[in-house]
């Protein structure tokens, strides 16, 4: 019978001795999720800002869709991206399936509604007097917008951190579109799933510990950002 204590001992050994395979998997995870976060922030922040700052027909509908997408099951995203990128899909000619880029696309889709919806919430909470103050002091519409976004900075940072937490812990979508290819598309969560199946718990536990530590760091950052935001308002 497998000893959990022995498994933890070996896992810690892998971490302490900076096992090359472990490091490669961690780096790829950070690279894929980091890129997805940059893309989703670049797309989600303008959408969140637009819906937060402007009133236009269909705004409520867009927010309903974004809020719904926040709870999107990763496997559904994986299935959708798979169908789109598979050989018979509309973008099959690009041969992106089972590549890190396919994983980035899937994670970006997962993170986008979180960044957009939470940025929207952060911006609509800003006192409307800020907008008027900025306008009456001679700001251009663009300067008014940047003033509002700056005021919502802590909420927006919290949105980005929350999205990062979501994509780092995600397994369903990237397993489907990445294929879990060793040394190419194998990241922390997919490795844990595979190694557990194989009964190779040392690597799975080591990655589990790293993932938990990352989650702890993300949540501490989120707490500190939210605390700073609360203290300053």
């Amino acid at each position: 019978m497998y000893s959990i204590i022995e498994g933890f001992r070996k896992a810690l050994f892998l971490i302490l001795y900076l096992d090359p395979e472990l490091l490669r998997i961690i780096l790829l995870s950070l690279k894929v999720s980091g890129t997805a976060l940059i893309i989703s922030t670049a797309l989600g922040l303008p959408v969140g800002s637009l819906t937060g700052l402007k009133k236009f027909p269909g705004r409520g509908f867009i927010m309903t869709i974004l809020n719904t997408l926040m709870g999107l099951p990763p496997v559904v995203v994986g299935l959708f991206v798979y169908l789109v990128l598979s050989r018979r899909g509309p973008f099959g000619f690009m041969a992106l399936l089972y590549t890190p880029l396919a994983m980035v696309i899937a994670q970006s889709i997962l993170a986008f509604p979180i960044v957009a919806a939470l940025s929207h919430s952060a911006i609509i909470k800003i006192d409307p007097l800020i907008k008027q103050a900025s306008f009456t002091l001679g700001a251009t519409p663009f300067q008014v917008t940047t003033a509002m976004i700056r005021e919502a900075r802590y909420g927006i940072m919290a949105a980005v951190i929350a999205a990062f937490g979501r994509v780092m812990a995600e397994v369903g979508a990237i397993l489907i579109v990445g294929g879990n290819i060793a040394g190419y598309t194998r990241v922390m969560t997919t490795t844990i799933a595979l190694e557990t199946d194989k009964g190779n718990f040392e690597l799975a536990l080591a990655l589990g510990i790293i993932l938990l530590m990352l989650s702890l760091v993300i949540n501490m950052a989120l707490y500190l950002v939210q605390r700073k935001g609360v203290l300053q308002t």
Partner: protein, 218 residues
């Protein structure tokens, strides 16, 4: 040539209820105009229209430089400023709040520093320049709003009920600031208040807004 304002036959109503009716007045001389009237008489609406925050239903707001009509664009907005009864404070230091109007105009840091110091000194907040603006008291916040408004040296400054939400001590300080601005006398300052005694203390020209019109003129 200094900026002047001519309000001509302005009408404004909300949900069918008239607020301003055929309201006209020329603001032509530098000095302090005080617009009085009971709460709900339309003073704030009048200010919001003059400061280009809202459009009138009918009538004209003409800004002039001599006899030349000035186009309502960003350049004009940067020559006038409105201070609302509740000051919207940016989540940054007192210094950066006051510097905002200069920063968005692209002023260099030396000029900004000098002018912000002068404005903060004028309103008695120089010692608090590094303090977070959101931690100021309501009276100090109002003074911050005045510093932020005057630092850009607007040619026409609208102060909407500047002492409505402050205590007696800060009311006196703000009145003193306005009286000192009056002595400098470079711009047109238009103030609303429902306090008649205060209106008389501050005004060069006392105006009354009644039934949607400015009925009392100098």
């Amino acid at each position: 040539m200094g900026l002047t304002l001519a309000v001509s036959h302005v009408f404004k109503s909300y949900d069918g209820k008239p607020v301003l009716q055929d309201c006209s007045f020329p603001f032509e001389k530098s000095g302090t105009y005080v617009l009085t009237g009971p709460n709900g008489s339309g003073k704030s609406t009048f200010f919001r229209i003059c400061a280009l925050l809202e459009n009138p239903d009918r009538g004209k707001i003409n800004y002039l430089s001599g006899s030349i009509l000035i186009e309502k664009n960003i350049e004009l907005r940067r020559r006038i400023t409105l201070l609302l009864p509740r000051v919207g404070v940016f989540n940054m230091t007192v210094f950066k709040n006051v510097a905002y109007g200069l920063t968005i105009r692209g002023a260099n840091s030396d000029e900004t520093g000098e002018r912000v110091h002068k404005a903060l000194d004028f309103v008695g907040l120089l010692q608090k320049k590094e303090q977070k603006a959101l931690t100021l008291s309501s009276g100090e916040t109002q003074r911050l709003g005045i510093a932020r408004a005057i630092v850009t040296e607007p040619e026409i400054l609208f102060l909407d009920e500047p002492t409505a939400s402050v205590d007696l001590e800060n009311t006196k300080i703000i009145e003193d600031i306005i009286l000192r601005m009056k002595k400098i006398g470079k711009s047109i300052v238009v103030i609303t208040t429902h306090d008649m005694a205060q209106a008389e203390r501050l005004a060069d020209w006392l105006l009354l807004l009644k039934d949607g019109r400015i009925v009392s003129a100098p």
